[in-house]
Structures are given as structure tokens and as C-alpha cells.
Symmetry: C2
Subunit: 244 residues, 2 copies
């Protein structure tokens, strides 16, 4: 008998069109697809013959344990993540949950993460060195997030902000902007992208100073430019030093 197998698959930003061929093949090959119910809904119709295991937000550890159980029973399991499974996704926790089962083969199938899909909507803001920072302090202490915002803006990185806001954290983006504004000019171009790759996709260009007072929702990704970033024909572009 072959080893138990778990795929951890990044769906990219939206539905099946944004998945790689490799990701589609992984879902076709598995018996069970596990995931957060919102993401299961996105792909369910395209893989209708599969068994689905879904649960709610913040039940990530339970979801991985259920997936492991199925794999140990001999089922090939695909654990899905929105975006890239390896960026704020399920790949890490799946490896951790399987720690005592080295016989389980875990194959991580990457997808397009929101920094990349959001940047594509805006133009080309992350063309050079950039950071991703999540503003959610559920899993990372806020002091560490502050330190990262400070260091990243000091070094003139472009920055993609994940989880920029939620009902409980409505002022976190404002706090984050205040930290970055200590190191960078308020004129730096910024972009907000909503519902990337899904119905209602929209973007807005602004500046770091103005971003401070914007309301963004939990379906948004925010991109902060650096001192090189320009707006060209309504798109946000960070030049990379080519001579034109």
C-alpha cells in the first residue's frame, strides 16, 4: 500500500479559472476535499463527485485533524486554502498536525496569493522588493506587527497588507499608517483592492496620508508603494531601475 497522501492546495483569488492546472489535477485526483466552507462553495460545482469536509472560521486545527484521519484511513485528501496555501494558509498547520505521522506525504500545491493577484489589478506595484504583513493580531502579537511595519517602511519596501481590517480591528489600518508615516512621505501611492478575482472586484488608488482615514473591509488587500512608486495612466507602478 502506498503512503497516506494529503495535498494542500492554493485556489488563488477566485474560482477555478484562477487555479493552476496542477491544482485542478490535485483536486481531481483526491477522494476528499477539506476546507473552510466559504472556499468549498467556490469550487464545489466543479468537483461534484468528491466528498467534502467543511467547517467554520478559526477551526483550522480541527480541520487538519479531520483531514489527517481521512488520509490515515486510506483516502487521498486535498486541504484547500484561498490564495496560496503557503502564505497565511493551511500548509503550515497541516505539517504541524502531521508531526507524529512522518509516513503521511504532504504535497503543497501553490496558488496565487493576494499580494500578487491584488498587485496585478493595481498595475505593477510589487515589482521589486516587498513585504507581506498581516494586520490581524489573532495569531501574532501586535507589538511584532508594529515592529515589522516600522522596519519595512524604514527600508523602503513596498508592502502588501493582509487582513487590513475587521469589525473588532477597525482602527488597525490607521495605526499601521501612522507607523509607516513616521518613515515614509504621505504622498506615496497606495492601492486598495476589493474582492480580487471575484464578483465585485474593484480598486482604488490613494496616498499613504489619505489611506490613514479610509474605511476598508475584510475582503480587501492594501498595497503600500515605496518612494519610487508612480501612478501611470491610472495604474500603480513601482519602476525597477530600467533606463527607458
Amino acid at each position: 500500500m502506498s503512503n497516506p497522501k494529503i495535498y494542500v492546495v492554493g485556489l488563488g483569488p477566485g474560482g477555478v479559472e484562477q487555479m493552476t492546472q496542477r491544482a485542478i489535477k490535485a483536486l481531481q485526483e483526491c477522494d476528499v476535499i477539506a476546507g473552510y466552507h466559504v472556499y468549498i462553495k467556490l469550487i464545489k460545482d466543479d468537483f461534484a463527485d468528491k466528498t467534502f469536509l467543511s467547517n467554520g472560521m478559526r477551526k483550522e486545527v480541527d480541520r487538519c485533524k479531520l483531514a489527517l484521519e481521512e488520509a490515515l484511513k486510506g483516502q487521498t485528501v486535498a486541504m484547500i486554502s484561498s490564495g496560496d496555501a503557503g502564505v497565511y494558509g493551511m500548509a503550515g498547520i497541516m505539517c504541524q498536525v502531521c508531526k507524529d505521522h512522518p509516513e503521511v506525504e504532504i504535497e503543497v500545491v501553490p496558488g496565487i496569493t493576494a499580494a500578487c493577484s491584488g498587485a496585478a489589478v493595481l498595475g505593477a506595484p510589487l515589482i521589486a522588493d516587498f513585504c507581506t504583513i498581516s494586520l490581524s493580531d489573532l495569531l501574532t502579537p501586535w507589538e511584532k506587527i508594529e515592529k515589522r511595519l516600522d522596519c519595512a517602511s524604514k527600508a523602503d519596501f513596498c508592502i502588501a497588507l493582509y487582513n487590513p481590517s475587521s469589525i473588532k480591528r477597525h482602527d488597525y489600518l490607521q495605526k499601521a499608517c501612522d507607523i509607516m508615516l513616521k518613515n515614509q512621505p504621505g504622498t506615496i501611492p497606495c492601492g486598495i483592492v476589493r474582492n480580487i478575482g471575484r464578483e465585485g472586484e474593484a480598486y482604488e488608488l490613494t496616498t499613504l496620508a489619505e489611506l490613514r482615514d479610509k474605511q476598508v473591509d475584510m475582503f480587501s488587500t492594501v498595497v503600500i508603494g515605496n518612494t519610487q512608486t508612480e501612478v501611470i495612466n491610472g495604474r500603480m507602478v513601482t519602476p525597477r531601475g530600467y533606463r527607458l
Copy 2:
């Protein structure tokens, strides 16, 4: 007549299997595919009915000008990039070259960048906040790269190093490690991935102290963990704070 149209398409790490459905569709819809000849070769057989425009390394500006000329003649053009067109790729320079032609519609189609495809091979090292830093000083002054290495390691970011080495820059990785070692312990897990998504794909786990004296080639991506990163069953994993 509709506006001139240029797609800038990220191929992901390897051949067609690593592309998104959306990227494949963009290449199918265009008349002309433009790109660096090595990448054209990767996909040529799958889109054999297209016209190809290819040239050599460091001819990026010329390549974009040629693509623009074709688009202005009424051809739908796809400019391809390895990985993600928006991360050290062609999306930025394409927008810059089209600056005086606001009528040209530029659609950036994202792909899987090497940070994400490399991380997937290694396990889940970039699961939380991370930076991408290119060690090539062709387009960015070395002092700026040093500052970014210093700030990123001070803030305990995981780091994906692009262009970690070349014949002319054989000691840049060593210099980079020396900067990071001032801020981070030498025991931090690191990974080197070669030929991601292509023939000869291989990876090696090491530590920051050991990485300093490794020889890596220009087909490699290097991932530096943070103080949380562990090796679990031979994979590099950065936990994200979940309680197991």
C-alpha cells in the same frame, strides 16, 4: 475598433501545468507572444499557432517597445514573464513603456512567483509575514539591498532571496548572510530550492550559519526562516501561532 491590448502574463515556475487557466486563456486569445527566449521555449509547443517575438536577457526595454509596436498595429500581444509578471517581472516596465499611450489596455495576469513555488517545495516556510529581496544589484544599489536585509532580519521576517548568486556576484549571498547573522541566530532553518517546477527540481535544508558558505547557482531561490521556523519531518515550517 477596440483599444490596443497587451496582456502581461506570469507563467509560474515551469511549463503549462503551473499556469493558471486564466493565463492559458490569455495566451490562446493573443496573436503575438513576446518574451525572453528561454521562457518562449518553455511554452512554444503548446501555443504553436502564435507569432513569437523573443530576444535576450537585459533587453527588457526593447522587448516592451516591440510589443507596444505590435499592439499599436492592431495585434493582441501577450508579454510573458517567468513566475509572476508583477514580481521582478515584465509588468512594471511594460506599463512604463506605454506611458504615452494611455489608450493601450494593459491586463496583468498573475502567476506563481518563486517565493511561493519554492516555499511549497520546502514545506511552509513563508506562512506568516515575509519579504522578498533580490540580491542582484544591476537595478538596485547594493546599499539599499543591505539596508533591506538588515531591517527585514531585525523584524524577524522570513525572507525569500531572489537572484541569490551569479558568476559576477559569487560572494553576495555570503555578504547577505553576514548582515542577517548580526540580527538573527545562526541556527535559523534555511532552504535552497533549485529548478523549481522544472526538470532537476531539488531542495536542501540548512541553517543561516551554514548557508553563508554554500555555493548556490542562478537557478536557485533561497528561503530564510525566522525565529519560529522549525524542521518537521524534513520540511521547513514556520508556525503561525495556532494552539495544537
